[in-house]
């Protein structure tokens, strides 16, 4: 339950989509371009009403596709505007080409993204396949456990993007956060505006006294250096994110890091997970701790840039780890989060933890307390040597597959 942290804050009941729209209202970007692909997010409809009611002065471009949404947002940003958009699922897929261009041109766009499954089969419910598919596109990716985090992340994203000169997306889990009503603390408009500050681009197309060409063809003699700059910017963004979080804590009182450690320091078994499932996991951990089981959690907030070195340090002492992916990369090997966690540990010389990859919740399939309990049970057996860790992905709560950990239970 969210409690008041900021003296001037107020508690309201809102859905994830509503709070993301609220954050956008307070940010009041110069330009927003968006398209309602199926599945569409409500965020843009709510924001459109703010415009229709004269609450914000944003120029809204109701484009004819998500490809154009990202194209127009990129162009507005290059022109010198603070530009935002929002999408989910298929829309993010359609933006794919332009996502790489946004980061390649180093444009500080902020996107409100709702994690929803991608076709086929068409589904519309929540999983993280959409943003996981965009993980190499050079966007900072910030995930949220609940509506409060989504709201806080949106506000921080503006500062992060503009300082890092990298586009940044903030996500919520489709339906679980986006459509559910929760108590959220909102901060006053003026305080949010003061926190994000005014956008002052170094160089922009509408500066006609300093005209410039952006989007040049960049051949063998320069391309690689520009891509390296992008890679370095992503690495450097970790400190920027931490600095913004520090300032956010100083201003509004809530604490954020690259990831959250929940009862991890003395844990023997741990789950690594992204998004709302972390909330369910915390409930389970409390119960297990009461029974004397040293369970812990590492919740990824920032997936890009990936907090590799830091994670390796914080997981080094864990005996058995479950890395839970709400997306499958269909690689014939492992899912995205697992691959990054294992690579991070190995690179840091951490080879003692036994690590299992679980894929869960595709297309909005339920993930509940009993599933998490079963994972911890299994981790306990692995930690004590009673069970060998699976060398392939364990799929949770899915029918007709002999790989499913829970198939036999059903």
């Amino acid at each position: 339950m969210i409690k008041l942290v900021y003296p001037k804050g107020k508690l309201v009941a809102k859905t994830g989509n509503e709070v993301m729209a609220e954050a956008m209202r307070q940010i009041e970007p110069d330009v927003v371009a968006a398209y309602p692909i199926t599945p569409a997010t409500e965020i843009m409809q709510i924001f459109s009403q703010f415009i229709a009611d004269g609450i914000v002065k944003t120029e809204y471009i109701a484009v004819e596709s998500e490809h154009s949404a990202m194209s127009a947002t990129i162009a507005a940003s290059a022109a010198g505007a603070r530009a935002m958009t929002g999408t989910s699922s298929q829309g993010l897929c359609l933006m794919w080409e332009m996502l790489y261009i946004a980061s390649g041109l180093r444009l500080p766009i902020v996107m409100a993204e709702v994690n929803r499954a991608i076709s086929a089969p068409i589904n519309i419910h929540g999983d993280q396949s959409d943003t996981m598919g965009a993980r190499d596109s050079g966007w900072i990716q910030i995930y949220s456990e609940n509506s409060q985090e989504a709201y806080d992340n949106m506000i921080q994203a503006v500062r992060i993007a503009e300082k890092a000169k990298l586009p940044t997306l903030v996500t919520t889990d489709g339906f679980i956060i986006s459509h559910c009503m929760e108590v959220v603390e909102l901060y006053p408009d003026a305080d949010v505006k003061a926190f994000i500050g005014k956008y002052k681009p170094e160089r922009y197309l509408l500066d006609i006294k300093k005209p410039y060409t952006l989007g040049s063809i960049d051949l063998q003699d320069y391309y690689f250096e520009h891509r390296l700059q992008l890679a370095e910017a992503m690495k450097a963004a970790k400190n920027i994110i931490l600095n913004v979080a520090q300032d956010f804590k100083k201003t509004f009182g809530r604490e954020y890091e690259l990831y959250e450690k929940y009862m991890l320091n003395d844990a023997e078994i741990a789950i690594v997970v992204i998004g709302s499932t972390a909330g369910t996991t915390k409930v389970v951990i409390k119960e297990l701790r009461d029974k004397g089981i040293k369970a812990g959690l590492l919740k990824i907030r920032i997936f890009r840039p990936f907090p590799s070195e830091q994670i390796a340090k914080d997981l080094a002492h864990i005996k058995a780890i479950a890395v839970m992916d709400k997306a499958d990369s269909c690689s014939g090997a492992f899912a995205p989060l697992y691959s990054d966690v294992v690579a991070s540990l190995y690179a840091a010389g951490v080879t003692t933890p036994k690590i299992v990859n679980y894929v869960y919740g595709l297309g909005g399939r339920e993930i509940n307390i009993s599933h998490i309990v079963n994972i911890y049970k299994s981790l306990n057996k692995i930690a004590s040597g009673q069970q060998k860790p699976s060398t392939t992905i364990e799929y949770i709560n899915v029918r007709k597959t002999k790989h499913s950990l829970f198939y036999k239970c059903e």
């Binding site: 490809h67 505007a81 509408l206 040049s216 063809i217 960049d218």
Partner: protein, 309 residues
């Protein structure tokens, strides 16, 4: 009509030294467009294509005004994003200058992959001029057929061969599609009729809303003709009425260049290597079809101009 003496005082904003081919029509289109804009500040966007890659090889640029490119299919959406940013910053007093917005796209980036983006931008009513420099195929990518490629033309993806005689389908009439968007100004022009084109650009930039010009732009490589013939060849397209010069201003049609005598289309087709196979005896019927189609369309256009609708 514009006056050459006045135009000569206008700044050159597309400089020499770009890497377009000798005789390329696209460079002429860009240069004349910017001359037409005079001293008005402009921001230019372009679809991926010859014009963009040849004028912006990093770290060089041929553009003295701001120029932006991001992808192939989105020149219009891109231009609309910049125009929206302009409206926002102007409203807030963060910029004071009057700026006009020009989007370029080749026929591939306009007729085909960029059509949705163009249609959306026109429907939304952004104040922008979209210029399609139409060289009737994907020339930058390797002379592949496009929706603008005329019937019978040889391209690398609809080549003339033992059983096929180039493109078998008619091109789509994009100018009519744009007219159907009910935007304030739509025109067709050709490279070579510089006064007609520059006048149209000036009219289009004065329109308080979206405008569109489809300019036939010979490509020396893809059309396979002598580079020094670019101007005269394009003018032949107007004189044979395969590409009439006309405009639709607030729903009223006007033919801008009325040929003194309508020449047979073969005069336009013959100098071009891409139509060479049509002049084999057994392909005479294709030439006949092309001529018939032109005659029909020309009569319709004349009728529309005569009844002012």
């Amino acid at each position: 009509m514009v006056n050459l003496k006045d135009l000569s005082k206008n700044p050159e904003r597309v400089t020499g030294g770009h890497r377009l081919c000798a005789g390329c029509g696209a460079g002429i289109v860009a240069r004349q467009t910017l001359i037409a804009a005079g001293s008005t500040a402009v921001v230019v966007t372009s679809a991926t294509g010859c014009l963009e890659v040849s004028t912006t090889i990093f770290p060089y640029t041929a553009w003295k005004n701001s120029f932006f490119h991001s992808a192939f299919e989105n020149s219009a959406a891109t231009c609309s994003g910049i125009e929206a940013a302009y409206k926002s910053l102007k409203k807030q007093g963060r910029i004071s200058e009057d700026i006009r917005f020009i989007a370029f796209g080749g026929d591939g980036g306009t007729y085909d992959i960029g059509l949705q983006s163009l249609s959306g931008a026109m429907e939304r009513g952004h104040r922008m001029l979209y210029i399609c420099y139409n060289n009737e195929a994907y020339m930058n990518t390797g002379i592949q057929r496009s929706g603008a490629t005329p019937k019978g033309a040889h391209t690398t993806t609809a080549p003339a061969g033992k059983i096929c005689q180039g493109k078998e389908q008619n091109r789509k009439d994009l100018t009519q599609i744009m007219i159907a968007h009910n935007i304030p100004y739509v025109a067709q022009a050709c490279v070579g009729n510089w006064n007609d084109f520059i006048t149209k650009v000036q009219k289009a930039l004065d329109v308080n809303g979206p405008s569109f010009i489809n300019i036939l732009t010979p490509c020396r490589l893809g059309w396979n003709y002598k580079p020094e013939d670019t101007m005269s060849l394009a003018r032949l397209a107007v004189e044979t009425c395969i590409w009439p010069s006309f405009e639709v201003e607030n729903d009223v049609y006007k033919i801008n260049v009325m040929p003194k005598e309508k020449k047979p289309v073969v005069e336009f087709l013959k100098p071009q290597g891409r139509f060479k196979h049509l002049f084999k005896q057994e392909n005479a019927h294709i030439l006949e079809t092309i001529q018939k189609d032109i005659d029909k369309k020309w009569e319709i256009l004349k009728y529309r101009a005569s009844v002012n609708c």
